[in-house]
Symmetry: C2
Subunit: 231 residues, 2 copies
């Protein structure tokens, strides 16, 4: 109603034109926001603003916010490449582990999504992208002689280790946002001296965390355990 005589539709068609949307574009932009600002600053409204569109348009590409976040997790996880045909299954598992660590470090803010979103969805209803690494790992292991159930156990052990390790390592990262040498010591100093003698003494060790070495040692233990005491 009330079509005004002049002052027509300038400035209307330019700023909102973030160009055509697509699920990929939406997910990529969401990932970018999460990487840059953290997960809780990623709101539908902010995402829409970043895309130059109305918030409501996002709902053409995901039924709700949770699903959209699942999509982001799926995108990130689908970078994981499992070669089911590798004859050296141990080496392949190590490769998967290193890739997973790399992905986690590249997108630290997504890790909570990676490890906890599955808690909200029954396995069989998860996005296919997140099930593919599972199937591929099962294939790898059955080809290496494991029974299917044993392969599942190994998969669980491996990803248990991975999730745990990555959570550990990211904690260290947060502890060391910059040259936190002094900061950390300062923080530790706050601890009651009588109650935390050991922790207070570990300042320098805490500062020199080596994620690669830590993961490799975990893998050594796991793979050794798998051969000496098969599942």
């Amino acid at each position: 109603m009330t079509t005004p005589p002049a002052a027509p539709a300038v400035e209307k068609r330019d700023s909102p034109a973030g160009g055509k949307l697509s699920r990929e574009r939406v997910l990529a932009c969401a990932l970018e926001i999460i990487d840059r600002e953290g997960i809780e600053r990623m709101s539908m409204r902010r995402l829409a603003r970043a895309l130059g569109h109305d918030p409501m348009s996002l709902y053409r590409y995901a039924p709700n916010k949770a699903a959209l976040l699942d999509g982001v997790a799926e995108t990130v996880l689908s970078e994981l490449m499992v070669d089911s045909d590798d004859p050296d299954w141990k080496a392949q598992l190590r490769s998967v582990a290193r890739q997973f660590r790399g992905i986690a470090l590249a997108h630290p803010h997504v890790v909570p999504l990676l490890v906890t979103r599955p808690l909200a969805t029954p396995l069989a209803l998860r996005p296919l992208g997140t099930l593919r690494p599972l199937e591929a790992t099962l294939a790898l292991l059955t080809r290496a002689g494991f029974s299917a159930p044993d392969a599942l156990h190994v998969y669980r052990a491996l990803f248990g280790l991975l999730h745990g390790h990555v959570l550990n390592e990211l904690q260290e990262l947060v502890d060391n946002p910059d040259e936190t040498d002094d900061l950390l010591r300062l923080g530790l100093h706050r601890l009651p001296l009588g109650e935390f003698p050991l922790l207070r003494g570990l300042a320098s060790t805490l500062l020199s965390y080596d994620g690669v070495a830590e993961l490799e040692r975990g893998l050594d233990i796991l793979l050794a355990g798998l051969t000496t005491a098969p599942p």
Copy 2:
């Protein structure tokens, strides 16, 4: 506006009287809500309503919602008892692991908090309750002959394993909310047959997940690895 002539202020002064507040009462009630309804239904307003008070009163007991949630995590984690004087350190680590699993299963909705909240806080600034198990474990291990840095590595390996395992096991629980036998098979049936042959074949295995056994096997591997290849 429009004060009705009769029907005055009944029902106003009785329900809000939740009695005196206290940090313990607030945290306990928050935990109850989380256990019952899940973490995202736990809002400051709902918590206040459950306590029969104004939302703002909660801010006398925690500077903000994140801190309150940290408090809940701390409460839950402080149930963990580490006996630093146990001469059998392996047995003690196993006990810690079993306790942790028990706690996680008792409060599944809190687990995301337990494993991811630390990501947001530098170690030295974490609530003391969450650092106490760490210090106690370090004490246990140094008494058993480990150097302090080695003890830290063992601690990390153990809790990495625990976090990973617990996340794994809870996924299985979600998969089996009831006698999901049919439900799971149905879900798996949805998977493209060509692409997920192994996963589809594992329905029965997925249904008979044994968390205790799975954790014990993980511990076997870890402890074996620790003695054959010390850190």
